[in-house]
């Protein structure tokens, strides 16, 4: 059992939790993820790691309530327990293994969309702790949904915040900010984009034009997260990869996003039924002809 040490609502329906998981906290690196289960009958839910503390053994996760399972997870309180918390899974971001001196020569741009700010944060923080200042674009739909702004400010070189509706910071999509920065004369060697699949797709289409190498982090459907089920297979450069063990980070210009998005919709009907069952009790289990 894994104790919830801290819980915080970062924005509407977006939660942060510190969970005591000593083995994960000891060995995790930026770019990796965990899988959690709430109770003995729970689904296995993959979540990105937002932060970790090797001394206290705490791992920080951030999630948005999207389905029945995450809605139930949001009801957990400080002092409650996760039944299971396994990780770290997947590979660490490539730069973690890179030679520090050559890394320092590179100018990096991070692009975070929505809750994508959570997995971007430990990467920018790691670089900051190793004396590298990376530029960060954080985009959200509205001001209310913006998360981790202060935390990001403390570790980023330049931080550019944008909202789709212009309610805060710059106005427009993250792709517009990339265009603006490059038009202003900024030069980057690598871009790391993490957020909704559709955002990553459009960032990649744009950075391809600039010939700016771009890494994305994929979050496909998965069960075990150790390479066993193959549910998370994605096509990268024409080859089939398992996101859980070969990724989750890949060369964004080589990812087949259309296929990846199609595969994400696999259980949408069943997920929808589960939400209805949760919200309306026994009245809806599908098959009634009206839902």
């Amino acid at each position: 059992m894994y104790k919830i040490l801290k819980k915080q609502e970062l924005a509407a329906n977006i939660y942060l939790m510190d969970v005591e998981a000593k083995r994960v906290a000891k060995s995790c690196q930026p770019g990796q993820f965990v899988i959690v289960r709430m109770d003995a009958d729970g689904e296995r839910i993959p979540l990105t790691i937002c932060d970790y503390n090797r001394e206290t053994g705490a791992v920080t996760i951030v999630f948005q309530t999207v389905g029945a399972a995450t809605k139930m997870m949001a009801d957990l309180k400080e002092g409650d327990y996760f039944h299971d918390f396994v990780g770290p899974l997947g590979c660490a971001s490539e730069f973690v293994k890179e030679d520090l001196e050559s890394l320092k020569q590179k100018k990096m741009l991070f692009v975070a969309g929505g809750v994508g700010a959570a997995p971007v944060y430990p990467q920018v923080k790691w670089l900051h702790e190793h004396g590298i200042q990376a530029d960060v674009i954080v985009g959200s739909k509205t001001k209310d949904l913006l998360i981790l702004e202060k935390e990001m400010e403390a570790v980023a070189g330049n931080l550019y915040v944008t909202t789709d509706d212009g309610s805060y910071g710059r106005s427009g999509m993250v792709t517009q900010v990339i265009k603006d920065l490059i038009a202003e004369g900024k030069k980057y060697d690598v871009c790391v984009a993490i957020g909704p699949m559709i955002m990553m797709k459009f960032v990649c289409l744009l950075t391809k034009e600039y010939e700016l190498p771009t890494i994305v982090s994929l979050n496909p459907i998965m069960v075990d997260g150790t390479g066993m089920c193959g549910a998370c297979r994605v096509t990268v450069g024409g080859k089939v990869k398992f996101a859980c063990v070969d990724g989750p980070e890949f060369d964004g210009h080589a990812v087949n996003f259309d296929e990846a998005m199609r595969r994400q919709s696999l259980y949408k009907t069943q997920e929808g039924k589960a939400i209805l069952a949760l919200e309306e009790g026994d009245t809806h289990h599908g098959g009634c002809g009206n839902c």
């Binding site: 150790t226 390479g227 089920c229």
Partner: protein, 461 residues
């Protein structure tokens, strides 16, 4: 009774069981078991023992069943096997113990598997447990993986007095026994969980949610956590795909995924939080036990199911009993058929599978006749779900994070068959991680050999 024939075993009716997940085979009762036991002629030079990978004293335990002393029979089996209730259900007896039985020359062999199962079930129902070690050795052994190899190795080492901890990557112990083999063939709560309880009762600790190679490494276990030796029984978990066009369409699954959802995550139960695709017409590609398990699971979830296999019935690698049960339940066998492409609609959902007919040519390296394509025989099967059951290979997570641990070209860990010794000092391995995908009992045999090897290593120090 006809001494040439086995006492028949009671089974759930084929039509009825095709719609439920309860166990197919109901097993012997005491009377039936005792009657079957009288057929054993107690050979002096018992061939059946030679056919058993863990060398159970088979005539010895059957003798006790004959006498009606089932507790004693259980103790005889327990000397050699930690998982008799499992083995009695899933071992390929026809090619092992029963395949060597002298009775089998003229008539049917003794029903050794069903007798073993009866004894193990009786012991469980009557609260009989195996005996633990009397003296502790004061040495720690880490076992990686809680499948058949790991459980056997851990159980044997604990009986010798070692302090054993099993590390399991998933949230539940049992490995392939819980994620792979379905409920209707191997009940999880009543059988698997209880066998694991027995291993724990010997003093074995099990830590779940630890992925060796990620959460920690073998070197860390030995250098920082004080383990004197390590056994790797991490299995062969990586699924294979065919590499044909359309394989990433929505509705194509590895048998591993499909079975894990249904078995480990209980997705067959509508109340489960984990979804599973309930196809109308399902093709399962492959002919092994896993293919039969996936097919029979899909059938129980309401589908019309086809087994698509490129060779003929004779070459089917599955246990005879599984093929027999699958046919009884209404699985359709499309033999000498090989898929070439999976078709999908504009939204990416499977709509069909193009196949080609095959015929058998000359024998290949495996001794089986090689299937050859028949020209111009392509046709399309109308299916909405395809399950690939083409075998699995070992997961490189451990070998790639352990210096000095040699693997072969199939990514299998190189280990001595006699004692499980790997190329790294103090590290032993066995089961599918070494051999590639095989059977539960062979993995148990390897776990047993490695326990002996580890004991020799640690007592020689």
């Amino acid at each position: 009774m006809d001494v040439l024939k086995k006492v028949p075993v009671r089974e759930q009716d084929a039509k009825e069981r095709a719609t439920n997940f309860a166990e197919v085979c109901l097993g012997y009762n005491k009377e039936e078991a005792m009657e079957e036991a009288t057929r054993c002629i107690n050979c002096k030079n018992a061939q059946c023992i030679k056919g058993c990978p863990v060398a159970i004293n088979i005539p010895g335990f059957i003798e006790q069943v004959k006498n009606g002393d089932i507790e004693k029979a259980y103790q005889v089996i327990s000397e050699s096997s930690a998982l008799p209730a499992v083995c009695g259900r899933v071992c390929p007896q026809e090619s092992q113990c029963e395949g060597k039985c002298i009775r089998g020359i003229k008539g049917e062999p003794i029903s050794i598997g069903k007798l073993e199962r009866f004894v193990a079930d009786w012991a469980r129902e009557n609260g009989i447990k195996p005996e633990g070690a009397k003296e502790k050795k004061g040495k720690k052994v880490a076992v990686i993986g809680s499948g058949p190899a790991g459980l056997t190795c851990a159980g044997d080492l604990a009986k010798m007095g070692y302090d054993v901890t099993i590390f399991e990557a998933l949230h539940e112990a049992g490995g392939v026994l819980v994620y792979g083999i379905p409920e209707f063939r191997l009940p999880k709560e009543e059988v698997v969980a209880k066998e694991i309880e027995n291993v724990k009762a010997l003093g074995v600790k099990i830590e779940t949610n630890v992925v060796i190679g990620k959460s920690t490494t073998i070197d860390e276990l030995m250098d920082e956590e004080g383990f004197d030796a390590v056994f790797i029984g991490s299995g062969a978990g990586l699924p294979k795909f065919m590499g044909i066009p359309g394989e990433n369409a929505n509705g194509v699954f590895s048998a591993n995924e499909y079975l894990t959802r249904s078995n480990l995550m209980k997705a067959f139960d509508e109340k489960s939080n984990t979804p599973i695709m309930r196809g109308k017409k399902v093709a399962v590609v492959g002919g092994g036990n896993v293919a039969m398990d996936a097919a029979r699971t899909a059938l129980r979830l309401g589908a019309e199911v086809h087994i698509v296999y490129r060779r003929s019935e004779e070459e089917l690698p599955a246990r005879v009993e599984e093929v027999h049960h699958a046919k009884e339940e209404g699985i359709i066998f499309d033999l000498l058929t090989n898929p070439t492409e999976i078709l999908s609609d504009e939204k990416g959902w499977v709509t069909g599978m193009t196949c080609i007919r095959m015929e058998l040519g000359e024998p290949d390296d495996s001794g089986r006749r090689r299937p050859v394509e028949i020209p111009d025989s392509a046709f399309t099967m109308d299916v909405d779900t395809v399950i690939m059951a083409l075998g699995t290979s070992p997961n490189p997570l451990i070998s790639s994070t352990t210096d000095g641990l040699e693997t072969n070209k199939w990514k299998c860990i190189v280990a001595d068959e006699a004692n499980g010794k790997t190329t790294k000092e103090g590290v032993y391995a066995g089961g599918d991680a070494v051999t590639g995908a095989a059977t539960v009992i062979l993995a148990m045999g390897a776990g047993k050999a490695a326990a002996k090897g580890i004991d020799e290593y640690l007592s020689g120090r």
